[in-house]
């Protein structure tokens, strides 16, 4: 695979970034690194969602897959002593199994569009109810933590949160893996098939495409990526809760981030993650700083951001359906042609 020089430069910049942060913000490097790490981890998850979302397979339930990735990994570690090195693959298998269980009958019955979205919504709620119901293990809606292993830096326990530098490079690797999966799909014949069936399933079947199988393949891949992302996110946060990694709020966040960035282009979901990270940090500071809002909502002020995401999502879908990156690319292309 040939590497575009621009990408090589970008990648070098990403490798240098933590050192630059350390040099520029010696006192608060932990905070800035934390933001960047979270952004990279979400970027991988958004990319995983957009893998299928870009073809009109709109899932409002990917929080179920990130949740399964996080919870299965941590439960196996906490209660069976199973290393996440095995636990994460197991979690991925469970997530893929759920994806196929939901996907197969709905694709066979040609459930599409809004109906498919509603079905996935039911799926994420089901997973959340399971998590809350098993509160003796999962800690219910309060969440729980993976048992800390040694000094918190361990390959065996896949724990790396204690060292932000290591965490950064783990996140970078996870994100890069996600991008590589995207590129592979993008260059495959399956992408053509998915574009085709996203527009017209009957015409796609007429040229020999097994519509159900193509949809299942991309759904399974997407679920696997999000489960992996959820697991790594849990290992980084060293905390799992239904609201932070498993619920509908997470699903909405994923959809919003990916759509805002642009689901049809490689770096769209990544820019979307940058956007949501900056937005949520900005909102957090604004809410905490605002006396009036705090007086009105108390500590619940922080959950206002979900509402704002919802409103922004609607605005993006109406006014900028190609997202930030898609719109920017189109603008650039027009200008190039015009001049």
């Amino acid at each position: 695979m040939k590497l575009n020089p621009a990408y090589a430069v970008g990648l070098a910049a990403l490798v240098a970034l933590p050192f630059a942060i350390r040099a520029v913000f010696p006192g608060s490097e932990k905070y800035y690194l934390h933001i960047v790490i979270q952004m990279l981890l979400w970027a991988q998850i958004y990319t995983g969602w957009a893998l299928m979302g870009r073809f009109g397979l709109t899932s409002l339930g990917h929080g179920a897959f990130t949740g399964i990735g996080a919870y299965v990994t941590v439960m196996l570690w906490n209660f069976a002593g199973l290393t996440p090195l095995i636990g994460i693959p197991v979690a991925i298998v469970v997530a893929v199994a759920l994806a196929l269980l939901i996907g197969y009958p709905s694709f066979l019955q040609r459930i599409r569009g809004h109906y498919f979205a509603l079905l996935t919504l039911a799926m994420v709620e089901f997973v959340r109810l399971c998590i809350v119901g098993l509160r003796d293990f999962t800690g219910g809606s309060l969440g729980t933590q993976p048992a800390r292993y040694g000094d918190g830096i361990s390959f065996y326990a896949v724990q790396f949160e204690a060292d932000r530098m290591i965490a950064y490079f783990v996140a970078l690797a996870v994100w890069l893996a996600g991008i590589l999966v995207w590129v592979r799909v993008d260059r495959s014949m399956d992408r053509f098939a998915l574009e085709a069936l996203g527009q017209d399933e009957e015409a796609a079947a007429a040229v020999g495409i097994n519509v159900t199988r193509e949809k299942l393949k991309i759904t399974a891949l997407s679920a696997a990526m999000c489960a992996f992302g959820g697991a790594i996110f849990a290992q980084y946060q060293m905390y799992i809760g239904p609201d932070t990694i498993a619920g509908f709020g997470v699903s909405l966040n994923i959809v919003f981030g990916a759509v805002a960035g642009g689901i049809g282009v490689m770096l769209g979901p990544t820019i979307g993650a940058l956007f949501t990270q900056l937005l949520s940090e900005g909102l957090r500071m604004f809410f905490q700083g605002s006396v009036t809002l705090n007086a009105m909502f108390g500590s619940r002020v922080l959950s206002l951001d979900t509402l704002i995401y919802g409103v922004l999502l609607v605005l993006f879908i109406i006014h900028m359906p190609r997202g930030i990156v898609g719109t920017a690319m189109e603008y650039w292309r027009k200008h190039k042609r015009g001049s």
Binding site: M189, F192, A196, E202, A203, A206, V207
Partner: protein
Amino acid sequence: MLAVEGLVKMFGGFSAISNVSFRVGKGEILGLIGPNGSGKSTTFNCIAGLYVPTRGRISFEGHDITGKPANAICHAGIGRTFQIPRPFHKLTVLENVALAAWFGQNRTVNREQCWRQAAEALELVGLPTTPETTTEGMGAAALKKLELARALASQPKLLLADESLNGLDPSEMNQAADMLEMIRRERGITIVWVEHIMGVLMRVVDRVVVLDHGEVIYDGDPHGAQSNSAVIEVYLGREAAKREEARP
């Protein structure tokens, strides 16, 4: 090669085709004609696996293919075009056709071969093979050609061409007729050609099957059809009546 026996397709209580039987021999160009709404496209859609027939049996090269899904029918060697072209707008023209070469042959060819076959199919129908060409702004005639190229790229043994040539002018119609003849000559593909205007088709077909109200009313020599009283009555008669109406 293809045998359709007692085919029935109901939509709710309405039977779009009520009893259709015909055979297609290897190497033949068969014209399937009939007035608007007589059930030609429905017959095609049953053969091509888009619809599951209510009753009847369809066999291709000795295998029963009744009710098989569209992709399996395509893999078995039956290519089809849609009456109203259904190009994939998000893909370029070449990609539209390459996709059909790849999936139509059930991924049995390698990628290079598949791009070459796509270019060959486009050349055959006379469309540009440049990778940048998009479907944007393509006219009715060009879109029809793209439909054909896509069907051909899957290397079918039998081509079901649903060509209602309504949107085309007489010279374009003649071109389309020449093209089907040329496809058989170059590729040795058996063709069933759907049409509702008799004139253009008579020149090229070996045999015609005439449908009316979902039933076969004539099966045989094209010249015989033009002098068959049943055909004249339901078909040409109606056409003639229409022409009368259109006259000021």
